[in-house]
């Protein structure tokens, strides 16, 4: 799990190379028919898994999202598009909040993760693996346990909250509407939920950035320095552009799960931190309103997809594949 971002990235890279090789072989002479089908055979287990575990459930979710009726009368298959407009209008606040929280958490994770990845990649030396291990280490504990630990750390009577209070940071947060007016707490506020999201998804940001920084040919940086560019300029014109694919991948890996997360809001938030994930959860389990839960899930998926497409457009699609 923890190595997935790095693994995926490398996998993609190798895949591209292999495709090029095949192309070369094709160019040099005709290859047996069986060989051309090899990539398809290799990809077929993946396609089957994707089909069974993604496409089929998605189809069933789509059917559910359009059903009519209620738990009491039973649900009937139909095409009730109102489920979607209801989902949007009833849960607009949590949807908006989810995207704002996820965006802030992604930016925060980037701000923390980039320097961290940079230091590990360029200054890590022989401690590189140890440092990377430390980034991944929290993953050895359950997601839930780590989030719960924050409840204790940020407890009202805890030292963090009182330190923030003494440093007048609570008043600053109050001014920024991150905690309620006259608040004496961090827990069950926007600060704790966004903080929890940032913390929980930070490794997903660090690892892809690290991989892209690690790949950079150091001679390019040396060349920039030889051509009289200062340290910052070398970073801005050479390192940063070359690491953008990592930032891109990291942002997506952070933003997407953060937008759909409900654990942080459930444990570290209060009623005013309700995110769309909590809404889906309560629609499904408490209200037993499967169509509402399903249509809300689709709305979330669609909004994330739109967001990702816009983001890809903004940075250029070639950056996505690096």
């Amino acid at each position: 799990m923890p190595t997935r971002p790095a693994g995926t990235h490398r996998g993609t890279h190798r895949g591209t190379q292999r495709a090029d090789d095949t192309g070369g072989a094709d160019g040099s002479g005709p290859s047996p028919r069986g060989r051309r089908s090899t990539p398809y055979l290799l990809i077929s287990p993946g396609l089957v898994v994707l089909g069974l575990l993604f496409v089929v459930p998605l189809g069933s979710l789509l059917v559910t999202s359009l059903k009519t009726g209620s738990f009491a009368e039973g649900f009937e298959t139909a095409v009730r598009l109102r489920n979607y407009s209801d989902a949007l209008s009833e849960s607009w606040e949590p949807i908006k909040r989810s995207f704002v929280f996820a965006l802030v958490a992604t930016v925060a994770a980037g701000a923390i993760g980039y320097p961290l990845a940079y230091v590990i990649a360029f200054r890590g030396g022989r401690y590189k693996n140890v440092l990377l291990g430390l980034v991944v280490l929290p993953f050895f504990t359950s997601f839930l346990m780590r989030t719960l630990a924050w409840k204790t750390i940020l407890s009202d009577s805890g030292s963090i909250t009182s330190a923030f209070d003494r440093l007048h940071l609570l008043s600053l947060f109050e001014f920024l509407h991150l905690v309620p007016d006259g608040s004496d707490r961090l827990l069950q506020t926007n600060v704790s939920v966004i903080g929890g999201l940032t913390y929980n998804f930070l490794p997903f940001m660090v690892l892809p950035i690290y991989v892209s920084l690690e790949k950079i040919d150091r001679r390019l940086v040396e060349a920039a320095r030889d051509l009289y560019s200062g340290a910052f300029r070398a970073f801005r014109t050479v390192v940063l552009p070359l690491s953008i694919p990592g930032v891109m991948a990291g942002s997506l890996l952070t933003f997407i799960p953060a937008a759909g997360d409900f654990v942080n809001a459930e444990l570290l938030g209060g009623p005013q931190q309700t995110m769309v994930g909590n809404r889906i959860q309560s629609r499904f389990f408490e209200q037993v309103d499967y169509p509402a839960a399903a249509s809300l899930s689709f709305v979330l998926m669609a909004l994330i997809l739109i967001g990702v497409l816009l983001y890809a457009r903004l940075l250029g699609t070639e950056e996505l594949t690096g």
Binding site: S70, F71, A72, E73, E90, E93, P94, L144, M145, L148, A149, K151, T152, S155, D156, S157, G158, S159, P180, G182, S183, D184, R185, L187, Q188, V263, E266, L267, G269, G270, P271, Q272, Q273, T274, N278, R279, Q281, S282, F284, F285, E286, Q287, V288, D289
Partner: protein, 412 residues
């Protein structure tokens, strides 16, 4: 001081894992349970050598005695956490009741405490029950309104009363309910009260009213339960609404009152049973709370108090039933019979401190510890009984309406 929150984190971790899906019902205070066990043993005098001896020796002394079924096979029971006496590690299968039952009847018990939430249970098992597949349970314990729904859907086996002679000990107030006339399908396991728990050192004053939950002085330090019947019920009582006859309009009025408070940031969280952990750490000052839970919590934070508010308190009853297609129906009935023995019931409720539906428990519990006979949680005094209400029966359609209304006001 510093190790207090850490110490308290342990029960919370356990509680919260269970609590992930909101709408939790029963206590999941691991440490509370662990801590409760030695205290229980102390209360039980020299019954430390738990074994099969003590319950068995208890049964002949009781008037009705236990059934004489010589059973074989396994009885799979699923219940809420901390509803059955357990050993020091919180394991009910090593308490007194389960070994006692196994020795007395010959059945093996497979007991789990996986029921967290009525709706969650329903979401998990209803597809199989609907398809007529056995769900692998011989007894499950859910709250009355859910059992009523299951009976209506035909998911429940009819009880063979001849196998449960101890049903004669059922408290007459439970004997006949409108949704299960003559108790053909279900028997109550335990009752409890939904009221208010608070920490007087934090609130700085005594709490007596539901309206104290809405006092702006406590903003951000109040939690409410995600269980609609408790939170919405208490709010209706505070508006002078009769919860035994309430209409959707009444529910809307109460929901509006809750919504105003939610929007003003009055409520810190809407929780399942993990509200107990927040009370222990002091982050929560007052909470909508279930009576027996606070007994566990007091072991860790002796300041905590549970009260039945002046406006009234909500009664809930968790109820045993045999899910359709159960493999060992006779074993399930033997279990029901066993726990309806007053001596056994006393043993269970001395531990859980909820209210037993069995007549004669008071006499038996006095033998265990005379102090328990005057415990207001196990035996609510007359004035509390007078203001105890049961949420009226809702049709499945109303259930959806009320729940949707309620869920959306406790989530901003």
């Amino acid at each position: 001081m510093t190790d207090q929150p850490f110490h308290a984190a342990i029960p919370r971790l356990t509680a919260e894992r269970l609590a992930r899906r909101a709408f939790l019902r029963r206590s999941g205070l691991m440490l509370g349970g662990v801590a409760a066990a030695p205290w229980l043993l102390a209360a039980c005098g020299d019954d430390d050598d738990a074994g099969s001896g003590s319950p068995a020796s208890g049964s002949p002394s009781s008037a009705s005695g236990t059934g004489t079924v010589a059973g074989t096979g396994t009885v799979a029971i699923s219940n809420w956490p901390f509803y059955l006496d357990a050993d020091d590690s919180g394991d009910p299968s090593k308490g007194q009741t389960i070994p006692g039952f196994e020795a007395a009847t010959g059945y093996d018990v497979e007991y789990d405490e996986l029921v967290n939430d009525n709706d969650e249970w329903f979401a998990k098992y209803s597809p199989d029950l609907e398809a007529g597949n056995p769900i692998g349970l011989d007894i499950a314990v859910l709250t009355t309104w859910m059992v009523e729904r299951l009976i209506g859907l035909g998911y429940v086996e009819e009880l063979e009363k001849a196998n449960i002679p101890n049903v004669a000990n059922l408290d007459p107030s439970h004997a006949d309910v409108a949704w299960d006339p003559g108790r053909r399908f279900s028997l109550p396991w335990a009752s409890g009260l939904g009221g208010i728990a608070y920490n007087p050192t934090k609130t700085g004053r005594d709490i007596t009213s539901v309206n104290d939950l809405f006092d702006p002085a406590f903003a951000g330090h109040v939690t409410v339960l995600t269980e609609m019947r408790d939170t919405l019920g208490l709010t209706m009582l505070s508006l002078g609404i009769d919860v035994t006859t309430c209409t959707l309009a009444d529910a809307q009025a109460a929901a509006a009152k809750l919504k105003t408070a939610t929007d003003a940031g009055q409520f810190r969280r809407a929780t399942g049973n993990d509200y107990v952990a927040d009370l222990i750490t002091g982050d929560t000052w007052l909470a909508v709370a279930w009576s027996g839970d606070i007994v566990s919590a007091q072991l860790e934070n002796p300041d905590l108090v549970w009260i039945a508010p002046d406006e009234g308190t909500m009664l809930f009853t968790d109820t045993m039933f045999i899910p359709a297609g159960a493999a060992n129906k006779a074993g399930a009935e033997a279990w029901m019979n066993y726990v309806y023995d007053p001596a056994i019931s006393a043993q269970i409720f001395a531990y859980s401190q909820y209210q037993s539906p069995v007549v004669g428990v008071k006499e038996e519990i006095t033998k265990l510890d005379p102090a328990l006979a005057s415990n207001p949680l196990i035996f609510p005094p007359a004035d509390v009984q007078a203001r105890t209400f049961t949420f009226r029966t809702l049709s499945a359609e109303e259930q959806t309406e009320f729940t949707t209304l309620f869920q959306d006001v406790i989530q901003a």
